[in-house]
Symmetry: D2
Subunit: 215 residues, 4 copies
């Protein structure tokens, strides 16, 4: 029996909800194809978020880990291509820490690429009418931190567990109180996530289609 | 018994669906509070759209008319403030006509203001967590044409029927195939429209809150 | 001898400069073709701005008046098509007044269209490689207020003076301190304004080209 | 005597000019502080661009290399933080090649960080009123390819030559013919580049200020 671990973040930056957790917690106790889904909420804190993630990996020994986070201002579900080895926080995390230009993991490689089939995941969501895209940057805040820590961990584990990171837009109720931001309904995000999980579970070799950015 | 007339447009500009009609047709035969809702699809054609609208007004004698259309690229439900007396088409309508700087109605006033309580409608949607805004321009294409024709007609009718125009974002399945566009789920639009109708039916005096644009 | 009156605004909303005045004051004592240019700074105050404008019109009896203002967030020089008879201020003006849904001129028409050849002006700027566009809304703040007051005045004057309004982007030094805003160099704006003035002085009949917006 | 090598690209994607070359070629034979500036145009071709760059490095033995490119759609001068080891072309390069998910350099590390003081460069430009920003992604096209190849080369050279990449917005004459794009005057870009070069020549330790992105 395969296990899929989904993580979402607690709210941060003054928000009272975080779409990543609102979506991920719908999946508790679900099965997708033949896999059991387990979910885990991560604190929006440098360091501690990676520890909680690693504890969940130890407990569940998942064969697929998808971490999710909020990318306020984006209008599509973004499947991240790469995590870089830098923490550079424009705003404080939930422990009031704001690291600047510090490595996620000292001595780690400059970056890790997602090991899930990002093109196939995006393509499958688009085929179902769900706005999705490959993203070339997960930022330098706690989302990138968790993605880097996840891929570092999986690279040093035996087995062939795959890992990736998905950024979600604001929920409509968040965008309603902002001056200018696109949003996406929770139902659309949930449908997209289900397709992304199924694709990551079943597609071995990623699609050979463009998903890059000119700049 | 009050009657509410909702109109939506047929697809245009190469699209196969139009969110305004997808949303409006859900309301066929519904009642909202004590009002009966009737719906009507308008052709995306200068002139003919206004004729079909006027026929529907003659048939149903509504006390509230809300016309809806697509504003591809916007991220919120937009309640329009004003319609101007000009047709200026960047793209051809569905009859391949492309008027430039022609009046909607010769000899008509330069503009008409919506007679529904636009601030209250936006405020009620925001209060329900639905991204909405007052818009200062309905463009110069068939949407503005229909809004102008509607308000001109109501201004010359006996009775106190109110009229307004609401622009909707793309649906997710439309945005999925575009390079860069925000979208909104049909369910979110439907919930917003219901609130807008209830508000237009019940709020006599519009709210005294800012809804303008600096530029 | 023809006289061209250019107006720009004092800074507002916390800014220390206003690109409209920075550009307009470069034109003091210039001649363009056979016309003398005079300039005038307007206060960013509802009511008083229109009074100062009217005093300048009385003094100079111009045959062309172009009022300029800042449209923070736009990336092109915008030639406005229409002014509407409403003041609706999201922020306070420089006298701390914030009118909501009040007419610019009680009993005035719902809107006035610019009487300068807006399409020809935009087309000439584009031909010179300067980003420009027709805009369908001048907002509902002091810019729209001044444009409406100008066109109302000219409509009630003998003679054939033409009037219009041009919105400018932020200057680079303004955008540098903002989170996210496009800008335009003062030199580019000045070059655009000169072309706009020349066009407004010489083109009688506006071009029959599309300049509208679908929404 | 120090030598600074600046590179710009030939036009691509149907454009007839490229702002990176328009700006860089102004610097031919200039001195900045005590450094000689040399310039080099790179073809917009995967592989060949890196070869031409490496030939220029061999010829001039620069102590600072800044490669510049166009980032159509951005509104600020972007100093890139990181180059990743992937070519993924949404459009064909000038040799009609369109690699997908291929490494820039087989066996190379996943990414390289710029070795110029990116925060100090951005900060100095902002202080001079020039819109600038740190960017977390140079894309996956020829710009990222050249940045990666440059940093790979410098990492394997003796000496302490520094390298970085700067993305420029469209020029006004490019934006004028596009539907919707911000632009920047060549003069503003040139002034920014001079400040960036001076900073990279004189600031040893980068500033400890935030320049990251939440997502």
């Amino acid at each position: 029996m395969k296990t899929v671990l989904l993580t979402g973040f607690e709210p941060f930056g003054g928000d009272s909800i975080n779409p990543s957790w609102e979506v991920v917690r719908q999946y508790q106790y679900r099965r997708i194809d033949t896999a059991d889904v387990v979910v885990c909420q991560l604190p929006c804190v440098f360091g501690r978020s990676a520890e909680v993630l690693n504890e969940a990996i130890d407990r569940y020994r998942p064969s697929l880990v998808l971490a999710l986070g909020l990318a306020g201002g984006r209008q599509r579900i973004s499947v991240e291509r790469v995590a870089i080895n830098v923490d550079d926080a424009r705003i404080a995390d939930n422990s009031q820490r704001q690291p600047i230009d510090r490595p996620v993991i000292s001595g780690g490689p400059a970056a890790y690429f997602a090991t899930v089939p990002i093109k196939a995941m995006v393509n499958a969501m688009l085929g179902a009418g769900i706005p999705a895209e490959v993203s070339q940057s997960a930022g330098t805040f706690v989302c990138n931190h968790v993605m880097y820590a996840l891929l570092h961990r999986l690279a040093h584990m035996s087995g062939a567990a795959r890992g990736g990171f998905i950024h979600l837009p604001y929920l409509p109720q968040q965008a309603a109180v902002l001056a200018n931001a696109p949003s996406m309904a929770r139902e659309t995000m949930e449908a997209g996530l289900e397709i992304a999980i199924q694709t990551a579970l079943t597609v071995e070799e990623d699609l050979h289609i463009a998903g890059g950015a000119v700049s």
